[in-house]
């Protein structure tokens, strides 16, 4: 005889995604971290009379201590101080490159979307073609042609990252073009340029701004990778990639703190930036709450 006693079904979690926790939980820590990083990176070099290139061989290769929180490197330079300067350099490169590629991408995307026709088709095939080349390899080629330098790194990032912005702006412009207020503007006698600058661009601006913010961590990552390969900033400049590259040698003699510290700084800053832009994106596109940043 079968067991007919009724038992409650075990609790199952096979349900729709639980609603995301209040954005406060992501926003607050990210904002605090980013605020501290910005303060340190922007303000410390102005007020502190310390030289991040100061060499003191007497205290070379020291593990973290009270005097040097992150220890010292093989030339006796303070790792924490160098991290601050490195983050300053890497973030500057990231922000400048992201802004340049956002401007270039917006220009291409807006032109392709509003002119349409064969121009649109050719431009989008060009975008597809460039997107098929792995970013880092294309970056390496560009740096090889221009020789490693600050401007070469920025150009290499800008030339590989404008594609995202171009695609976003084009699709936004295409959907905006069918809206009545654009028709109204055209009927009212607005020129192509006026429609573009008065009606189309202001409406894609929030999306572009968001894409630019999301691009910053990626650009920083690109700079770091190039510098790590020895193809980025000049070797003496303190950048996150250069520091990790230098630290490889010290790793063999046990100097773990020299590569841990710069990497950790980068991870924390990146997480804070994507945390803030994640909240922002959820507010901007409430329907598309994906958890993937890229």
């Amino acid at each position: 005889m079968a067991d007919l006693t009724w038992r409650p079904a075990p609790r199952s979690r096979l349900t729709a995604a639980s609603p995301p926790r209040s954005p406060k939980w992501r926003l607050l820590p990210s904002a605090v971290v980013l605020g501290v990083v910005a303060l340190v990176v922007l303000v410390v070099p102005l007020f502190v009379e310390l030289n991040e290139q100061y060499v003191d061989l007497a205290i070379a290769n020291q593990p973290p201590s009270a005097a040097h929180l992150f220890g010292t490197d093989e030339l006796g330079r303070d790792v924490l101080l160098r991290c601050v300067y490195a983050l300053r350099v890497s973030l500057t490169v990231g922000v400048v490159a992201a802004v340049i590629s956002a401007v270039a991408g917006t220009a291409v995307g807006a032109l392709a979307g509003s002119i349409g026709g064969w121009f649109d088709r050719i431009m989008m095939r060009v975008v597809d073609a460039i997107a098929s080349v792995p970013h880092l390899l294309l970056g390496i080629v560009i740096v090889a042609i221009l020789r490693p330098s600050l401007s070469a790194v920025i150009i290499s990032i800008a030339l590989t990252h404008w594609l995202t912005a171009a695609r976003i702006v084009r699709s936004e412009v295409l959907s905006l073009r069918t809206r009545p207020f654009i028709d109204a503007a055209i009927v009212g006698g607005a020129s192509r340029l006026q429609v573009m600058t008065r009606h189309l661009l202001p409406n894609v601006a929030p999306q572009v701004l968001l894409a630019t913010t999301l691009m910053v961590p990626h650009a920083v990552w690109h700079e770091t990778a190039l510098s790590f390969l020895g193809l980025g900033l000049p070797p003496h400049a303190a950048s996150i990639g250069n520091m990790i590259n230098d630290a490889q040698r010290s790793l063999l003699i046990g100097g773990w703190w020299m590569s841990l510290a710069p990497g950790l700084m980068l991870v924390i800053t990146t997480l804070a930036v994507s945390g803030i832009s994640g909240v922002w994106r959820d507010r901007l596109n409430p329907k598309r709450r994906t958890e993937l940043t890229w």
């Binding site: 096979l14 997107a131 098929s132 080349v133 390899l137 390969l229 020895g230 990146t270």
Partner: protein
């Protein structure tokens, strides 16, 4: 028209798109190389160009054809490249095809094992996280995925190298052989563990988060709710009903992920002194060796295009609802 034929036509159409892309990319690289202030003949002579006789320099310039128009040079390169002759690498003093031939096998080995492992990890952890949604397991899996996505892969590589090869000394940390040992299957397998693990761990987070997200969406679909209503146990519902349908978009994303994979492999190889193409790429870039660098870039582009094509064909084969006129 049968579906098989339609898929064949899709593949042909995508190939027809791939060829012009490769031509455009290689021509653009060629123009960029020519536009740079770098002169291969001066590089060949180095400081000796001061003492070299002008006739000899002129003869070399004529032999190499450096002063001909870009299009003529590109045509010469292309006609040779089609027959497998990619020119000579200036930095490694070898034919480019030999340089690539020596190294490609090692890179393919690393990338294929690493990618497979990343997929397995992604499916396994993504399914676990979605199944136990909201639990500590889910939270720790998704949390570490975000952290790993933010960490540069070479930094992870150095950390793994330090802990497992230098401190614990469990596994060898660089190259494919120890000392002057000959290359053996066991030796290579031991040397492969760390680089493959780092490559897989750095690629997996994206897959984990994607599988989790898709599974959560499919839990609300009718056939999954129906399966649960019939009283099927959770594990059957997850693996038999939810996972199957949510894996379809996964297939096309495999193709889209290839550029990241190549980038990751380049950095992992550098950290672990793996004898693949990464070292050659960096050498070529530092020495402005365009013959080698260009060939490598065009090759990587070709791999990405073929990968996208394969992913689309697999998608069309797996899902009969997919329209083929895209």
């Amino acid at each position: 028209m049968t579906r098989g034929k339609a898929i064949g036509r899709l593949a042909l159409r995508r190939l027809a798109f791939a060829v012009p892309v490769l031509l455009v990319v290689s021509f653009a690289l060629f123009v960029l190389a020519k536009a740079s202030p770098f002169d291969p003949v001066e590089r060949y002579f180095g400081v000796r160009i001061i003492g070299a006789s002008p006739e000899r320099v002129a003869q070399l310039r004529a032999n190499w054809g450096v002063d001909e128009p870009v299009v003529a040079q590109y045509w010469a390169w292309l006609t040779h490249a089609v027959t497998g002759d990619l020119g000579d690498s200036l930095s490694l003093q070898q034919p480019v095809s030999a340089v690539i031939g020596d190294r490609l096998g090692w890179t393919v080995l690393l990338v294929s094992v690493g990618f497979t492992l990343a997929l397995v990890l992604g499916l396994l952890l993504g399914t676990l996280a979605a199944w136990r949604q909201g639990s500590w397991l889910d939270r720790s899996i998704t949390g570490s995925c975000y952290a790993l996505e933010a960490a540069p892969v070479f930094w992870l590589g150095l950390a793994v190298l330090y802990v497992f090869a230098l401190q614990l000394q469990w596994l060898p940390g660089g190259g494919v052989t120890t000392g002057s040992d000959p290359v053996s299957v066991g030796g290579v397998a031991a040397h492969m563990v760390l680089p493959v693990a780092v490559l897989a761990i750095s690629q997996a987070p994206w897959f984990v988060l994607f599988v989790r997200q898709n599974l959560l969406e499919s839990f609300t679909q009718d056939h999954v709710i129906g399966a649960r209503a019939r009283g099927l146990p959770d594990h059957v519902v997850v693996s038999g009903h939810a996972l199957r349908t949510s894996l379809l978009p996964f297939l096309t994303l495999l193709g889209a992920r290839l550029p990241e994979l190549i980038t990751g492999a380049l950095l992992v190889e550098t950290v672990f002194s793996w004898p693949g193409i990464a070292r050659a790429t960096v050498e070529a870039a530092l020495n402005v060796d365009f013959a080698l660098l260009g060939a490598l870039t065009v090759m990587a582009t070709g791999v990405v295009l073929v990968g996208n094509l394969l992913a689309d064909v697999l998608y069309a084969l797996a899902d009969p609802r997919v329209a083929l006129d895209g």
